[in-house]
C-alpha cells in the first residue's frame, strides 16, 4: 500500500479550495432547505416519530442522503469530467502513478467532500438543538463511511461511463428509489417486507440505521453489522472500480 494516491486527493482538494464558496453552497443549500422545509413544515402535522421530533428524525436521514449525493456527484460527474473531459487522469498516468492510485485518490477525495457535507448538516442539527448527546460525535466517522461507500460505487459508474447520460440511469433507477425506501423520510419498518429486504441490501439504509440513534442520543443497535455493510460496499466498490478502470485505461 502506497500513499501515492494522496497526490491525486491533494490535486482535487486544491481545485476545490479555489471554487470553495460555490461548491459548499451547492452541496449544502439543497439538503438544508429540504431539512427545514420538510422538517418544520411536514413535522408540524406529525406527532413524534420513533420518539423523536419529525425534524430530528428527518435530520438523521437527510445527513446520510446529502452525504450520498455529494459523494456520488463528485465521483461520477466531477470524476468523469477529470477523466474524460479534461484528461487529467491521462496526464497523471505519465507520471510515476498507476490507475489504482488515481482510483484510490478519487474515492477518498469524494468521500472527504461528502464527509464535509454530512458533518456540516450535523453541525446545523446540533446548533438547532436537534441533537445534543455526545453520542452524536460518532456520526462524524459514520458520515465518512457512508461517503466512502457511495464514492466507491460512484467511481465504478464513472469508469464504466461512455457519456454523461449514463449517470442518469444510476441516479433515476438506483439513487432516487433507494432514498425512498431507506428510512430517510419515514421509518423503513412500515415498508412491505420485500421492499424492506431490498433496502437492507443497500448502503443508505445502514447509514441511516447508524446515524439516527446517535442523533437521538444513544448507541445504535447492531452498529457493527451496519458498519460492515457500508465497509463491504466501499471495499467491493473500490475493487470493481480498479478492475474497470484498468480495463478502460490499459486496453
Amino acid at each position: 500500500m502506497t500513499l501515492r494516491w494522496c497526490h491525486v486527493w491533494r490535486r482535487n482538494m486544491l481545485v476545490w479550495r479555489k471554487l470553495m464558496a460555490a461548491a459548499i453552497l451547492s452541496n449544502l443549500a439543497d439538503p438544508l432547505i429540504m431539512l427545514f422545509g420538510l422538517g418544520y413544515g411536514l413535522g408540524a402535522l406529525l406527532p413524534s416519530v420513533e420518539g423523536m421530533s419529525y425534524i430530528a428524525f428527518f435530520a438523521a436521514g437527510q445527513l446520510c442522503t446529502a452525504t450520498m449525493f455529494t459523494a456520488s456527484f463528485e465521483s461520477m460527474f466531477s470524476g468523469f469530467s477529470r477523466m474524460h473531459g479534461q484528461k487529467t487522469w491521462d496526464a497523471i498516468l505519465y507520471a510515476p502513478l498507476v490507475i489504482d492510485d488515481i482510483v484510490a485518490g478519487e474515492i477518498v477525495w469524494a468521500a472527504s467532500k461528502a464527509w464535509l457535507t454530512g458533518s456540516t448538516i450535523l453541525g446545523v442539527a446540533v446548533v438547532f438543538g436537534l441533537a445534543s448527546s455526545p453520542w452524536v460525535l460518532l456520526a462524524l466517522p459514520a458520515a465518512f463511511l457512508v461517503g466512502l461507500a457511495f464514492s466507491a460505487v460512484g467511481l465504478i459508474m464513472c469508469v464504466l461511463a461512455r457519456g454523461w447520460d449514463f449517470f442518469s440511469y444510476y441516479m433515476t433507477l438506483v439513487m432516487t428509489p433507494m432514498m425512498m425506501i431507506s428510512g430517510v423520510f419515514f421509518p423503513a419498518d412500515q415498508l412491505p417486507g420485500p421492499l424492506l429486504a431490498v433496502a437492507k441490501a443497500l448502503p443508505l439504509y445502514h447509514g441511516v440505521q447508524i446515524v439516527r440513534p446517535l442523533v437521538a442520543g444513544g448507541p445504535p443497535p447492531d452498529l457493527w453489522l451496519h458498519a460492515a455493510v457500508l465497509l463491504a460496499y466501499a471495499a467491493a466498490g473500490y475493487a470493481l472500480a480498479i478492475y474497470f478502470a484498468r480495463r478502460r485505461f490499459s486496453s
Binding site: Q86, A95, P96
Partner: protein, 306 residues
C-alpha cells in the same frame, strides 16, 4: 545501453492489429523520430513504450527498466508531451507545474528554484499567474513541454509536438527541442511533418500499418529510397498536352508518376526534361531537390488515411 529499445512489439484492438512487430532502438542523447500517416500506430507505440497499455507481444526496455512490469519506475525519469494538451484548466501556469511536480514526489519548495527557468523555457516568463484559458495554443503547447520537464527527465516522449501550431510557434518549439538535445536529453517524437523530422531528428523510422518500413538518418533515407532531383509539372493546357508531355518524360526520367493534374518526375539529372518542357509553354513546373516527404509518399503511398 539504449535509452529505449523494443523488440517484436505487437498490439491488437479486437481483430485489428495496430502494431505488428515493431523493433526500435534509441541511443541516449539521440533525437529519434517516428513518422507515419494517421493510423499508422505511432501513438499506440508510444503508449506501449510508456507502459500505459499492455502489449500483445514483444519486449520493451525503457531507461534500463523492463516495461510494462516496471514502467512506473521508468517513468520517474521520463517526460511526456501528449498529442492533445491536458493541462489543468483550474490552475494557473505556475500551479500546473507545482501540482505536476508533486506527482513525481517533488515538493513545491524543491521545485521553486527551477520554476523561473521552466517558465523561461516555455517563453512564459512573468506569466506564472496566468490562467490556462487565457493562453494561446502555442503557449499551452510550450507549457505542456515545460511540464514534461519538471522531473528533469532523461528521456522525453512527444506525440506530434507541433501539430496545429502556426509557423512562429512551431519554430520556437523546434528551437527548444534542439536545446534539450544539446543538454543531452533523449527525445522520441512522432510527427507527420517531414520538415520537422528532417530538421530535428538524428534518426527516424517510417511507420505504416503497424510496421516500420524504413529506418535511418534523414539523409540516408533520401539517398536510399529516392532519386535526388524532382520535377513537378502541372498545366492548364488540357489533357492532351499533359498526356503528350508525359509520354516524352517517361523516356527521359527513370520514374514518372501522375497524381491528379500534376506529374512528378524523379531522377539523377532532370536537364533533358527541362529542355523538353520548352515546347510545352502551357505547362508550369517546379524543380527541387528530393525531400523526406518524397520518401514518405513513395513508401506509404498517396492515398488518404482517415
Amino acid at each position: 545501453m539504449n535509452a529505449l529499445s523494443a523488440r517484436g512489439l505487437r498490439k491488437s484492438y479486437g481483430e485489428l492489429e495496430v502494431v505488428s512487430g515493431v523493433d526500435l532502438a534509441v541511443a541516449p542523447g539521440e533525437c529519434f523520430g517516428l513518422l507515419g500517416p494517421n493510423g499508422a500506430g505511432k501513438t499506440t507505440t508510444l503508449k506501449l513504450c510508456l507502459g500505459l497499455i499492455e502489449p500483445g507481444g514483444g519486449e520493451i526496455e525503457l531507461l534500463g527498466e523492463p516495461v510494462p512490469r516496471r514502467a512506473r519506475e521508468a517513468r520517474t525519469n521520463v517526460g511526456v508531451v501528449p498529442q492533445f494538451d491536458n493541462l489543468d484548466p483550474d490552475f494557473t501556469v505556475e500551479e500546473n507545474l507545482v501540482v505536476y511536480g508533486r506527482y513525481f514526489g517533488i515538493s513545491k519548495e524543491e521545485l521553486r528554484p527551477r520554476i523561473s527557468a521552466l517558465l523561461e523555457f516555455a517563453g512564459l516568463s512573468g506569466r506564472g499567474d496566468a490562467k490556462i484559458t487565457t493562453l494561446s495554443g502555442g503557449m499551452k503547447r510550450r507549457l505542456t513541454l515545460a511540464r514534461a520537464l519538471v522531473n528533469n527527465p532523461q528521456l522525453v516522449f512527444m506525440d506530434e509536438p507541433t501539430t496545429g501550431l502556426d509557423p512562429q510557434a512551431r519554430h520556437l518549439i523546434w528551437e527548444r527541442l534542439r536545446r534539450l538535445t544539446q543538454e543531452g536529453k533523449t527525445l522520441v517524437l512522432t510527427t507527420h511533418f517531414m520538415e520537422e523530422a528532417e530538421r530535428l531528428c538524428h534518426r527516424l523510422a517510417i511507420m505504416d500499418r503497424g510496421r516500420i518500413i524504413a529506418q535511418g538518418t534523414p539523409r540516408a533515407l533520401i539517398a536510399e529510397h529516392i532519386e535526388p532531383q524532382v520535377l513537378e509539372v502541372h498545366g492548364t493546357g488540357g489533357e492532351g498536352w499533359m498526356q503528350a508531355w508525359m509520354e516524352r518524360a517517361k523516356t527521359l526520367a527513370p520514374r514518372v508518376e501522375r497524381v491528379g493534374d500534376t506529374v512528378y518526375c524523379y531522377g539523377e539529372h532532370v536537364e533533358p526534361l527541362l529542355r523538353s518542357l520548352s515546347s510545352f509553354p502551357d505547362l508550369s513546373y517546379l524543380h527541387r531537390p528530393a525531400s523526406l516527404e518524397d520518401v514518405f509518399l513513395k513508401l506509404t503511398g498517396r492515398d488518404l488515411r482517415d
